[in-house]
Each structure stands twice: as C-alpha cells, then as structure tokens.
C-alpha cells in the first residue's frame, strides 16, 4: 500500500534535511510511537501502539535511515515491526524528497507499507485498515510539520484512530455533501 503526502516546512532544504535525519525528533510525530533504544546513529528500536476499534495493536520494531542522498535531497527510512501478540507484521519504507518552495521546503513523503498476518486477513476490515494506515501517515505529516514549525513534542499517547476519523468523516459529510 503506497501512501503519498506532502508537507511544507519553513526551512530551506539544506536545513530541513538534518532535521529529517534526527529520528528521535521525527519518530514521535507518528502517533503512538515510543522510541525505546538507540542502536546506533541510524538505527532505533521502538514501539508503535494504536487502536483499531476494539483491537489494540502494538508493533515492536526497528527504524533505520538507509540512504541519504544530499544530491537529490532524498532520504530513505525503512521500518519493520512485529505485533506484540503475533497478530501481524508491518514493513514500511518511507522516502522523503525535499524540494525548495519559496523560502521553505516542500517535503514529499511516500510511504510504502506492507502489512501481513491476521490483522489484514479479514476482508470486512480491509477498508478500515487502509483508512487507519492512511490516517496515521497523514497525522505523521501534519505533526511533523507542526513540530518543525513550533518545536514542541507531540502528544506521545496512543491515539484512538476511530476518534480522529470521526472528526474527519463528519467534516466530509457536512462539508463535502454527496459524492
């Protein structure tokens, strides 16, 4: 599943790049994330907790900065995690591509998530899993932009994805009307 987002940050690309490489700074922007150990400068262990309706999931895994290309202003981060109770596995690669936009930087975030195991072997839940992944990545982009702009740490608590979605759907229904 490929999820694409863009965010703009009020720093020129040369200054924005080191920020994206600062995993302890970036990681908490993914809701429900808790870094537990720095393995080396580029590799971190952590935990992502989330709730999909009645199902509480907790992924333990590692995130690694795989490639930094200062020429093309591209960063590749890979992450993989295993759900605590073996209900699934997730493998993700995130490519950040920076380009100047005005005085700031436009960051394109392309996330490719592969989910496997019980959590996705459920046809009726496929829609909500896709939506949850999309929502998490959207939230990540928003929170990262906010953090770079404002500097404050985001709320580390595991989010109830449902409640976030409720607001977005309400907005869609009241604002958007019929499709």
């Amino acid at each position: 599943m490929k999820i694409e987002n863009t965010l703009t940050v009020p720093l020129p690309p040369a200054d924005a790049l080191p920020v994206l490489l600062d995993i302890p700074f970036v990681a908490p922007c993914l809701p429900g994330t808790d870094l537990t150990r720095e393995v080396d400068a580029r590799t971190f262990e952590g935990k992502v907790s989330l709730k999909v309706g009645p199902i509480a999931l907790s992924f333990n895994g590692t995130a690694t900065v795989e490639e930094i290309d200062p020429e093309t202003l591209t960063v590749l981060v890979s992450a993989r995690g295993r759900e605590d109770r073996g209900r699934g596995s997730a493998v993700a690669s995130v490519v950040f591509t920076l380009s100047p936009e005005g005085s700031g930087t436009k960051v394109s975030v392309v996330t490719d998530v592969t989910l496997a195991g019980a959590i996705i072997q459920y046809a009726r839940g496929a829609g909500i899993v896709t939506r949850t992944a999309q929502e998490l990545v959207d939230q990540f982009a928003k929170r990262l932009a906010a953090r770079i702009e404002g500097g404050e740490a985001p709320d580390p608590e595991a989010i109830r994805v449902g409640s976030l979605l409720w607001k977005s759907i309400k907005a869609k229904v009241t604002g958007g009307g019929a499709a």
Binding site: R82, R85, G86, R87, G88, S89, V91, T114, A116, G117, A118, I120, Q121, Y122, A123, R124, A126
Partner: protein, 779 residues
C-alpha cells in the same frame, strides 16, 4: 426370508447409532495418557525469507513444554520434502513442502516452528511469542499474473512460475476451424474455494519406544498415503508405521493430501517420547488446507451450419498454489473432461500449471471437472446464442448417441487408459431432466414472471465424469468365532457410509444381515495396502473387492460344511449365520462353529484344499475408469436491483450405474449439489494482489446454508457398467460438477432483458449488478 437381497435397498446406516449419540470418535476426541498439544508458528507473509527464530519468550509461557524449528528436527529430515504423491513427466518443477520451512516460506500460513504445551491454549500463547525475522519477498497473488513478463517468482530460486505443461488432443483441429461455418470464442475464469469439511484436520502420534513403531491417527481420506510419506521421511519399514483414521468429519478432497503436520507431529512424539496432538482450527484450515478451482480458460469452437461442433481449441492456465503435493492432476482431468458428453471430432488443448504464493491446490470434490464443465457448457450456451438456437437444442444436436456406446473419445485418461465411455444414454438423460424441469413451457412462465417484474431463468449442465479410478482397493472378510463377520479395508470413510455400503454387499454374499457385520476402514494395521477415498472410487473398488473376498469366504464356509456333512458344496446355502443343506430342515452348522474349528482348535483337521482361518482377501483392479454422467437443470430468480439469486427448482438426472443404497446416493447427489451451489454463487476464497488471504472466517467465506439449498429433484438412470462385478460407478462428485454451469446459465437466462454474458464463477450479487450496469451503459 430366502432370497433377501440388501444390494439396492436403502438400508439404515450402520454408522448412525454412535454418531447420533455423540459417541463418534473424531480425531480431536482422542485422549492418550500424558498427551501434549501443539500450535504452529506460521508465516504472516505470502512469500518471505526466514531469518533468525527467537523462541526464548515462548519457552517461558506457562504450560509450554518446548519449541521446535526446522533446524531442530532430526538430521535425517533436513532438506527433505514431503513425498510427491502423483509424479508425472509433465511436471517441470516437482516441488513439495518441507515439514517445517527452513529458509523460505511461499504462502501465508506455511509453518516454520511448532510450540508444544500441556494444552492448545497455552501452545497458542507460546506461538504468539515466537519471534521470527522475516524478510518479505515479492509474491504472486493471482493466477493471471503468474505468466506475465517480469512477474514476481513464487519460489525465489526458480526461473519462472511454470510448474507443468500438458498438451492433449486428437483429430485435425486446424482443418475443423478452416471448414467451420461459425467460430465461437470465449474466455472463462473459475475461482478458488475449498472443501471445508466441518471437522478440520488433525493428527495424534504416539511412538512406542519398546517396539520402535509409530501409531498415527490422522483425519485423512488416504491413510496409506500418509503411511508412505512417513515411511519415506523417517526411513522406516512399513511395519513400524501404523496409520489409523478415526471417524472423519468430512473430506471432500483436501483431506487426501499428506500435510506437513502429519510428519511433524510424529517426529515430536518420538523426540518427546509422549503422545502429541495437533488439532487444526478453522483459521488454520483457511490458511493451510489445500484449495482448488482457480483456472483461466480460452475456448474456441468450430461449428458447422447445423450447429454441429467440428472441433475445439482451448488453452488453460491452472493455479497450483505454492507447491505440487498431488502433482498436476487437476489440469489433466480438466483437459480430458472438457469434451464431456458431446461428439467433438477434433480437439486440442494446452494446459499450463503455474505456481502462485497461495496455499497449494489439490483435487476438491469434482477435481478439475467443475471448471471444465463450466467452460464447455458455457461454450454450448455461447454457440446457441451465436446461432440463434435454444441451449437445449444445440446440446441435443451434439450429444453422443446411446448406440455409440462404448465410445472411445480419443484421449488418454489420467490412469493411462483410453477415455472410453463404458455405458450411458446422454440424450435420454437430458431429455428426462428437461421434461421434469418443465423446460418446454418455461418461456411462458418466464414471460409471465417478467410481466410481474420478476426475473426467472433456466440453465442446463451436462457432464461425464471418470470415476472408480484404480489402481486397486482391497478388502479382507473374516468370520469371527462369535459368528459375526468383520470387513477390513484400507479405504477411509469421511461420511460416505462405506461401512453400510460394504456391509450390504458382503451381507448378500454371506446370507446375513448387515448388522451382523463390523467394518473397519482406513487402518493400515488391518489392511496392508490401499489407495484411499478420492475420485469417487470406493464403491467401485472397495465394493468389488468386498464382493470378491466375501465370495471367497462363502466358498470356504461351504467347503467346510460340505466336508462335515459329507455332501456336495453345491447343495449348501448360507442363511442367517448358518450353513445348511438347501431347502431342507436337515443338517446345519453355524458360522461361529465353523470359525472356531478353523481358528486352530486342537483335534480339528482342515479338509483338503481349505486354508486355515475363515478369511479371504480380495483386491479389485479396474481395467479403466468407469464413466458416470448426468444432466442438471436449474431454475433461479434474480433480483436485478440487488443481484441476489434464489434457486427455485433444481432437477438432477444422475446415472452412476447400479445403486447399492439409493438413499445414500441421493445424499451424495444432494450434498454435492449444495457444494456446487456454493461454487456457483457463494464461495470465493479471496486473496489480495500480494497473496494475502482475505476471507479467513466463515463470516467472509460463505458456505451454503439450509435456506439457500433447495430440495433437489433427483432422477436415477441406471446404466450398469460391464467393468466391475457390481455394475456400479462413482457417485460422490457428480452432484457438484455441473452445478455451477447450470446455475450460472440460469442466472444469465433470467437476466436476458439486460443482455449480459457471465463467464466466471462464482457469480455474486455485486458482480451481477456490475454486469447489468455495464450492459446498460453500453446501450
């Protein structure tokens, strides 16, 4: 009571008294002292490399006794794969599964480790805590993708996804197409489903350290195959491996495989020196029990001006799934089934079997035939449409006439013998079915319904089915010293009432009632050789061998009594457990007394030429398959706005030769149709593009229920086969085979006003609506 015959009677089932009281002994009901239970650690990924496996957390779980991975298995198992059951030169990559995957997993659900605990709950807790480093690999999640250039590879080390190639045919197809007045082409797609017996699989193993031998109970259709595979894996003698089938809660094909668990559980029992049980749960069944039916067909028919078929050209891509446990039999059966009951002067088909990263496919009730019949019958409807003829008429013009029997089709069947239809009246079968279904006045009914806004339709499915496959099945019949009779056969039962059927056949030979007979099925310790229950072969093979063996015992009984009474054996008859001089109230001797005398009683001297023990064995080895046939006519109503289909009427004309027990045959047909209804309108095992299974509960994979399946109107024709002493043919799969073709044709016919064409099955409401919407947009 003289002259009483049980063959042909709907006697009550010998199996029922226990089953109705909850006293069946199914696999999971087995409890042995000191027994432990298992749960497997299975790949979440459809395709991945297996890295390090950390079992330390799992071992700390309360109740967990141990964890075993591929590398912890005994040396002799390393690198060894499960015995390929049906080898064939057509197979380019004869790859079967490892008992536990070592380096690479190729479908979601493939096991890499097993957790042993004091109960299943604790074992599952442990399995949750085994941490495997997976490296996901690109996967093939769809049969249509497997041959595309640049496709992912199902097995990382293989050059492509081709598992087997087969080409069949006869006659001059090119000439036929050149001379054709019409050429009709269509493509078809049939989807995956599976058998879903209500009892999942399971294995119990016990290693006798004193005698150095295994006892293995497994919920299988083919205990001798399991025995062969265990013997092969462990380098043991057959005497050291006894495989026993308890009561089996349904099979339908997938239980005729040998599965990794049937090798892993025994090795654990030997390593731990205590009995070990694994009982599959339904989720595992969805992931790891074999499936079938995904095929892509391109069919072209050359037809003359009168609607007679001149030739058929076809190409078939068959989805093997990840491995080939049963070889490449289904596509071969499909290819040889396509021509069916029709005169097809020339024929050419290329079948390609491809690997995909989904659970392997193996024969499932119908075994490649439902797909072939779907393709052929849909093509018949397409020809009818294209020539402006009635679907019944186009079939009638092409059916093999009864006086052409026996009919050599021109192909070689899977048993190596020519496909030679032995008996049957195909035109009469169709005529009877149409008559019973009220086909002649259907157009009037259809018009009347349409006037009320109701869409009803009718569809036909004809088929011929090779059954009663060899190589053989055997049976031993023995008179016990208490006067009862025992039958032993290797053929395992899974609900077909083998015990009842075989007892009926034996009872007639011995002049007793079936309830005097105890039948033991599916125990390799009781019958050294056997093939198993598949291919609708048991009544033909085991039934005939019981007839032979019982005949041998009857001869022995008479010889002994003749010696005792000093009379000619010809003057004796068997009745109610006695041997007596025919028609007189004179001398008689009981089976029990004769059994005691011949069982080694001191002082008793056997008459000349009579071997000890009142026992005889028989093996029946059929010369070729025997061909059952039939015609199904379905009438349905479709809600064109929601796509919901209701089956209003279902007629089956069924010819499986002589009927041993008509009620049992009716049960097979009715149950088979129910399965076919599932294949037609409900059951679809859905995978995503990466091979992740999505329908893994009974809430998402829809089995037919009581309000879906109508009471079928079953008419039996009986064309006895000359190929076996009973004149019987197989009956277990004919209910399923033509059902998707007939039902889908009926749905299409009901939607005639919308002019849609349905070339796939199952056809579900959403798809029906999509087709209607698409057709309306085009007009």
């Amino acid at each position: 009571m003289v002259g009483r015959v049980f063959f042909g009677q709907s006697v009550k089932r010998l199996e029922d008294p226990d089953l109705l009281r909850g006293r069946g002994q199914f696999l999971d009901d087995i409890q042995l002292p000191g027994m432990v239970e298992c749960a497997f650690v299975r790949s979440p990924f459809p395709h991945a490399r297996v890295g390090a496996i950390d079992t330390s957390d799992a071992r700390a779980v309360p109740g967990v006794i141990g964890v075993c991975t591929a590398r912890a298995l005994p040396d002799h198992m390393h690198g060894k794969r499960i015995l390929l059951q049906v080898p064939s030169p057509a197979i380019t990559n004869p790859l079967t599964q490892e008992p536990l995957a070592t380096d690479e997993v190729c479908f979601a659900g493939e096991a890499v480790a097993v957790v042993i605990a004091d109960n299943r709950h604790a074992a599952e807790d442990g399995a949750e805590r085994v941490i495997v480093e997976w490296e996901p690999l690109p996967a093939v999640g769809n049969v249509a993708d497997a041959l595309k250039p640049g496709a992912a590879k199902t097995h990382a080390a293989m050059a492509d996804n081709v598992a087997a190639r087969q080409a069949l045919g006869y006659g001059d197809v090119d000439a036929a197409f050149k001379n054709a007045a019409h050429v009709v082409r269509e493509s078809y797609h049939t989807h995956r489903g599976t058998g879903h017996p209500m009892e999942c699989r399971g294995v119990v193993a016990d290693w006798d350290a004193v005698d150095q031998r295994f006892r293995i109970w497994t919920s299988t259709q083919t205990p001798h195959n399991t025995q062969r595979a265990v013997v092969d894996m462990f380098n043991l003698s057959e005497d050291a491996v006894r495989v026993i089938t308890p009561d089996v809660g349904g099979g339908f094909g997938p239980k005729n495989q040998v599965y990794p668990e049937e090798l892993v559980i025994p090795v654990l029992a030997r390593m731990l020196e205590r009995p070990v049980k694994w009982a599959e749960d339904r989720r595992e069944h969805f992931l790891t029990t074999t499936q079938e039916r995904d095929q892509l067909w391109d069919v072209a028919a050359a037809v003359d001006a009168d609607g007679k078929i001149l030739g058929i050209k076809a190409a078939l891509i068959h989805d093997a799934g990840a491995y080939l446990p049963w070889g490449a039999i289904m596509p071969y059966i499909s290819a040889s089934t396509l021509p069916g009951p029709y005169v097809i002067p020339s024929y050419k088909i290329d079948a390609t079997t491809v690997f995909t990263n989904m659970i392997s496919t193996t024969p499932l009730r119908g075994a490649g035939r439902p797909q072939a019949v779907f393709a052929m019958e849909r093509m018949m409807d397409a020809i009818a449409r294209s020539l402006g003829l009635d679907p019944a008429d186009i079939r009638a013009r092409n059916l093999i006439p009864a006086d052409a029997m026996p009919y050599d089709m021109g192909l070689t069947y899977r048993d190596g013998a020519p496909v030679k239809y032995d008996s049957g009246d195909y035109p009469e079968a169709q005529a009877k079915a149409l008559h019973r279904a009220g086909y002649a006045d259907f157009p009037a009914r259809q018009a009347a319904a349409l006037a009320e806004g109701r869409h009803i339709g009718i569809g036909i499915g004809n088929y011929v089915e090779g059954t009663g496959l060899g190589p053989f099945e055997g049976a031993t019949v023995r008179v016990l010293t208490n006067g009862r009779v025992a039958i032993y056969t290797g053929a395992a039962a899974a609900g077909q009432a083998h015990k009842t059927t075989l007892a009926q056949i034996c009872a007639d030979e011995l002049g007793i009632t079936p309830d005097m007979i105890d039948v033991t099925v599916g125990d390799t310790g009781k019958m050294a050789r056997g093939a198993g229950t598949y291919a609708s072969r048991i009544t033909v093979n085991a039934g005939s061998s019981v007839r032979i063996a019982a005949g041998g015992v009857a001869g022995k009984l008479k010889a002994l009594a003749a010696a005792k009474f000093q009379v000619d054996p010809e003057s004796l008859e068997l009745l109610d457990g006695l041997v007596r001089i025919t028609g007189t109230q004179g001398d008689q001797v009981s089976f029990a007394d004769l059994a005691k005398m011949t069982s080694g009683m001191p002082g008793f001297v056997l008459p000349d030429g009579v071997a000890p023990d009142l026992e005889a064995s028989g093996y029946f080895t059929p010369a070729q398959a025997t061909y059952s046939n039939g015609c199904h006519v379905a009438e349905v109503e479709v809600d064109a706005e929601t796509g919901r289909v209701k089956i209003l009427n279902y007629v089956v004309v069924h010819d499986c030769g002589n009927l041993v027990n008509p009620k049992l045959v009716d049960g097979q047909v009715q149950g088979g149709v129910a399965h076919g209804i599932g294949n037609a309108i409900l059951e679809n095992m859905v995978y995503d593009a990466d091979g992740n299974p999505l329908t893994t509960t009974f809430g998402d994979y829809l089995m037919p229920t009581a309000e879906i399946v109508p009471d079928c109107d079953i008419i039996h024709m009986q064309s006895p086969t000359p190929l076996n002493p009973l004149g019987v043919k197989g009956a277990g799969e004919g209910g399923t085979i033509p059902a998707p073709a007939a039902i889908v044709a009926a749905v299409e016919n009901a939607l005639k006003p919308f002019n849609i064409r349905i070339t796939e099955c199952p056809i579900r409401p959403q798809r029906i609506v999509q087709l209607i919407n698409a057709a309306q947009q085009n007009t």
